[in-house]
């Protein structure tokens, strides 16, 4: 113990950091802010630390070369002792970091922390969010598998739609004419050098501002922020009810950070590392690329937007969102801080959360994608076949062999791109079915060139049998009128 003290004193004589660090740790904070609501920022920083450590550990084995990256991940997963666990920690750490950064952002937004004088802290926070998203995307690319390869193609296709500069931006993004070695190298440079260094710089500034300006006080309804007297009131608050950050606030930060690290380790242990999926070989086209969890909402949005709206929304949407986030502290830098008197703020958070949650949920089962192997993999249930005439059974064969099943569900299984056909005969008459099959329409391709008259007749005969037993099939009113004048 005495030796440690001696070494400590020797170092402090030279570095002279002891006093300022002690002073910083014991700076007074308002009593209310030593709260479990104020632990997310420090937790995000702790997870960032975990990412730095596990990232360096992965870099000991990982080879940033398009020809080798996938193999080096296999070596990490299967040959290097505990390599799989470090990969899993890094992957789950990334998910947790993004989640905590988002929760932290929601908390400071609802607590009005972006208002005077903490505008710059908020602005730096927005850039920290963008960089965290950047780390997640570039990290997904470094897991150089099929999803990464085609994900880059999606990124390039979006980039290319920028007016005039688009194609040049794609070439810069890819580092050449195609997704290849140069692409992986530049994403490696971004993920390992450029973004982490900027993150560290911005985290430092973000933290410095928290220390210089003081942590945002617990919002009390009716206690309005005014530029004229806020600082005075805040300092009075820390003077009268202030407590030292160490130990009042810091123990909760430490407990929560530890808990989060434990959760990450538990997820890593239980669920294991993410991928890699198939090799990044563009010749293997039997693949259905999916983005990582935090980009699933975007995948859903790209599927559901009307084609004509897609490019404007993709190019203008992010710019507007960024402007709104950056302008927020300047548009509402004063006034009420408490979420209890800011219903629009609360509703905005709820709306964004529900929208992102819904899109993410939709993307996890992707009803817009055809099920590519339904026509060979999913049989037609016998209840749709028993008691049918030979022509109708022939129609069921046409349904299967012409891949109708890839987009249309029948019973439990099949694609969801088009409507389920269990009761199609109730909705459409025979003539309408013929027209729909041959000419398509309503987002269905026309099959006129790919079905001969016999196949069409059989298919429609089968489709006309698809109605619940208690419901009669649709009938053409004019035909009925012709029979019974």
């Amino acid at each position: 113990m005495r030796l440690i003290n001696k070494v400590g004193n020797w170092l402090d004589q030279r570095l002279q950091l002891g006093a300022p660090v002690r002073e910083t740790m014991q700076h007074p904070i308002p009593r209310d802010t030593a709260s479990w609501f104020y632990v997310f920022g420090s937790a995000a920083m702790t997870v960032f630390g975990l990412q730095l450590v596990t990232g360096i550990l992965l870099a000991l084995i990982y080879v940033p070369s398009a020809g080798e990256a996938w193999n080096s991940l296999q070596i990490l997963n299967h040959q290097v002792s505990l390599g799989w666990f470090i990969r899993a920690l890094h992957g789950w750490g990334s998910n947790f970091m993004l989640a905590i950064v988002l929760i932290h952002m929601v908390q400071v937004f609802l607590f009005g922390a972006y208002k005077f004088p903490r505008e710059l802290t908020w602005l730096l926070g927005i850039f920290l969010l963008l960089m965290t998203l950047g780390m997640a995307f570039t990290g997904q690319v470094l897991r150089f598998d099929q999803d990464a390869y085609w994900g880059l193609g999606i990124g390039a296709s979006i980039c290319s739609r920028v007016p005039v500069l688009g194609p040049a931006m794609v070439t810069l993004l890819l580092g050449g004419p195609i997704i290849a070695g140069a692409t992986l190298s530049r994403f490696f440079a971004l993920h390992v050098f450029v973004i982490p260094c900027s993150l560290m710089l911005f985290v430092g500034l973000h933290l410095l501002l928290v220390l210089k300006l003081g942590i945002n006080e617990w919002p009390v309804p009716g206690r309005l922020v005014r530029r004229s007297d806020y600082l005075e009131k805040y300092h009075a608050l820390t003077r009268t009810e202030g407590v030292p950050f160490m130990p009042y606030g810091v123990w909760k930060d430490a407990v929560f950070s530890g808990l989060i690290l434990l959760c990450i380790a538990a997820c890593a242990l239980y669920f294991g590392p993410f991928g890699p999926s198939g090799q990044p070989d563009p010749r293997v086209i039997q693949t259905a690329p999916r983005p990582d969890f935090f980009f699933l909402w975007l995948y859903a949005l790209l599927s559901l937007l009307p084609p004509a709206l897609e490019t404007p929304v993709l190019l203008i949407g992010p710019v507007i969102a960024l402007i709104v986030l950056l302008a927020l502290p300047f548009l509402s830098g004063e006034g009420e801080k408490s979420w209890k008197r800011r219903p629009i703020a609360v509703l905005t958070v709820l709306l964004v959360a529900v929208a992102l949650g819904t899109f993410t949920n939709l993307a996890s089962h992707a009803p817009w994608s055809p099920v590519m192997d339904a026509w060979t993999g999913f049989p037609i249930s016998s209840k749709f076949l028993s008691g049918r005439t030979p022509l109708q059974v022939q129609g069921a064969l046409v349904f299967q062999s012409k891949q109708c099943h890839n987009c249309h569900a029948l019973g439990e299984n099949g694609g969801k791109r088009g409507p389920a056909l269990d009761a199609v005969a109730v909705r459409l008459t025979g003539d309408q079915l013929v027209r729909q099959v041959l000419q398509g329409g309503g987002n269905m391709p026309a099959y006129g060139k790919n079905l001969n008259p016999a196949e069409t007749a059989a298919l429609v005969a089968f489709l006309q049998t698809l109605h619940p037993s208690g419901q009669a099939p649709a009938q053409d009113a004019s035909h009925a009128a012709g029979v019974q004048p």
Partner: protein, 180 residues
């Protein structure tokens, strides 16, 4: 040493030093920016596209659409399998071919050919195209990208080398003379 209302000697030295460093900075910035923009300038100068052979035309029976692959003309040693690019070759009849890019015209995912229904389907966002590459349904705003082709000494050749994207295709469209 300060001169009232003017520059002191030291202040002037500082300004000269800053100016000097500014000039050095600009001089260094030129090669750095040039290096960073190299992929674009290289593409502008010599172009990334070349005529590449997909093999003898009898590999592609008339009336069928088949998957072919080619080695990208501009590659590096570290590219691995990413340098081998697939494409769909449709031989209508005689000397008439259509060579489609593998990339969906929506966002670049690999489209698959289903000869039974005569459709190209995209697994990502559900784009569908007819046998001739025309848009059938889904989010794509246009048909499949096509490579220019020619037949040389019994071999099918295509002009390729750059990943087709909606923006690139539109930019090329504006550069192409109206008669082409």
């Amino acid at each position: 040493m300060s001169v009232p209302g003017g520059l002191s000697r030291r202040q002037m030295f500082l300004k000269i030093a800053m100016l000097f460093n500014g000039i050095v900075g600009v001089l260094l910035a030129i090669p750095i920016v040039g290096y960073l923009l190299a992929p674009v300038t290289r593409g502008r100068k010599s172009g990334y596209e070349r005529w590449i052979s997909l093999g003898p035309i009898d590999q592609f029976p008339s009336g069928q659409t088949r998957l072919a692959t080619y080695h990208n003309p501009v590659t590096h040693a570290s590219d691995g399998e990413t340098a081998d690019i697939p494409c769909w070759v449709r031989h209508t009849d005689g000397d008439h071919f259509q060579v489609f890019a593998i990339n969906c015209a929506h966002l670049g995912c690999p489209v698959r050919w289903f000869p039974q229904s005569g459709l190209f389907l995209c697994p990502c966002h559900g784009g569908a195209y007819y046998a001739d590459g025309a848009r059938a349904s889904g989010p794509p705003e246009r048909g499949l990208f096509e490579y220019p082709f020619k037949i040389l000494e019994g071999n099918l050749q295509i002009q390729a080398g750059q990943m087709p994207t909606p923006g690139l295709s539109a930019a090329k469209g504006t550069r192409r003379p109206p008669c082409a």
